[in-house]
Amino acid sequence: MTNSGNLQLTANGELRHFLTPEGLDRLMLERILDTADSFVVIGNQEVKKVPLLRGRTVVNLFFENSTRTRSTFELAAKRLSADVLTLDIKTSATSKGESLLDTLQNLRAMHSDMFVVRHSDSGAAHFIASQVTPDVAIINAGDGRHAHPTQAMLDMLTIRRHKGNFESLSVAIVGDILHSRVARDQVHALKILGCSDIRLVGPNTLMPQAITSMGVTTHNNMDSGIDGVDVVIMLRLQTERMDSAFLPSAGEYFRLYGLTTERLAQAKPDAIVMHPGPINRGIEIESAVADGPQSMILHQVGYGIALRMAVMSMAMSGQMQQRHAKAVNPLSLKREPQP
């Protein structure tokens, strides 16, 4: 979908919005991961701050609640020395579209450099990116069921750091794929990074229509689905699913699709277990596994901050280069070495 690619990149192919990995090429995704790697190191030092975004304003625009995601973005921005502002805006049921447009108009007066956006409508981040003035970078913190690119990329970072090359890996994603914005982006990212064995595991009620068109295989049986895989990604199951005719009960779900120590043995002995969080112990994952040696769940949190620092600095950089290029040289900007 070249649409997404074009919207996310400057004329020079630099990142200027981060909405979804779809439409970006392998080189770009690897650059994001490489940049994130350096920020992981920063996170382990005593001095965790770098001055990259000093003087820049980052606004958290959360139309949908999420304390976790919001706080990691806040932390990431602060570690980049940016000024951070959080706006919690709930959309009113009757005037959704209008108030979003109006909200964006009102925000113009604040002259911020970047919006981190979370919204319950799929395509909201694209919409906002197409409506803001061209020098504002948009980072998608999750839109409807469509995308959650920073989560997917931090998952890729986790896989790369602990498992290496994507080409030889087999990855299973288990759970509520239908309602998961993360799963779609995980599939896109895995494919672009060269992974060819991606398995989606779950009951038909939680599997999106025609998902195999994205180049994955689907499995109703968890044991055969995770047989011999290198990575098991468990998705969170929301309790609403049990109330609205998607699943009969938490008990039956855990019996069929819960990741227990016994079940995990079906995967490779050195397989890693991941979960975007927050975890539902006893529903999608057993405590022994969540807290066990193969679990990367806590690592993912730290990687999440580094990854967000990476995309924020890259997108800000792309925007600023664009501004600078327009101001200084109407033609394309050449890179010069700094002695």
Partner: protein, 177 residues
């Protein structure tokens, strides 16, 4: 490309001699300034190679800085993914630091390095050690010890090759501007 230029600067042909000259200057500096137990910190990439030699000579602890996140050209040239992270395996508070780079030219790299150093702590002093200095300062920064100072023409740059055999040479950029 390099051969013709070194004829104009015959000193460059003998890099080891320049390094030895620098080590002598450092010994002198430590003695006259009474720099007790200095820390040697090199700036990536060439500065680290030179710093290694110095640290070995002084039997002093060695650290390295990558200034990628402290550069002042972020808005113009963007962020390059870092390859090697900064690593200071010691506390720099109240210590004397020998900050080492291979080439001092505009002074911006040193400005960034000092900013980064001060995010780690407050040293007692910083002495700037460079193998070579090109007279094109854009900031008021000078070396405390330097083996060679020269002027270059527009489009010419000096480069240190390493890490094992250190060799300085001049390269030319065909399309400058």
């Amino acid at each position: 490309m390099g051969a013709t230029q070194t004829l104009h600067y015959p000193e460059l042909a003998d890099t080891p001699a320049l390094v030895n000259n620098l080590l002598d200057q450092i010994d002198q500096l430590i003695f006259t300034q009474k720099l007790d137990q200095p820390l040697v910190i090199g700036i990536h990439t060439g500065g680290v190679w030179v710093a290694k030699v110095i640290a070995q000579h002084l039997q002093a602890p060695l650290g390295q800085l990558d200034i990628a996140f402290y550069r002042d050209d972020f808005s113009k040239n963007g962020l390059h993914p870092q390859v090697s992270p900064s690593s200071l395996p010691f506390n720099i508070n109240d210590r004397h630091v020998l900050l080492v780079d291979d080439v001092l030219m505009s002074g911006r790299t040193i400005r960034a390095a000092m900013n980064e150093l001060f995010d780690f702590g407050r040293p007692a002093s910083i002495k700037l050690i460079t193998l070579c200095s090109v007279n094109q300062r854009e900031l008021p920064i000078q070396a405390d010890a330097c083996a060679l100072s020269l002027d270059l023409e527009a489009g010419q740059y000096i480069q240190l090759q390493g890490p094992d055999t250190l060799k300085l040479s001049i390269i030319e950029h065909a399309n400058h501007d």
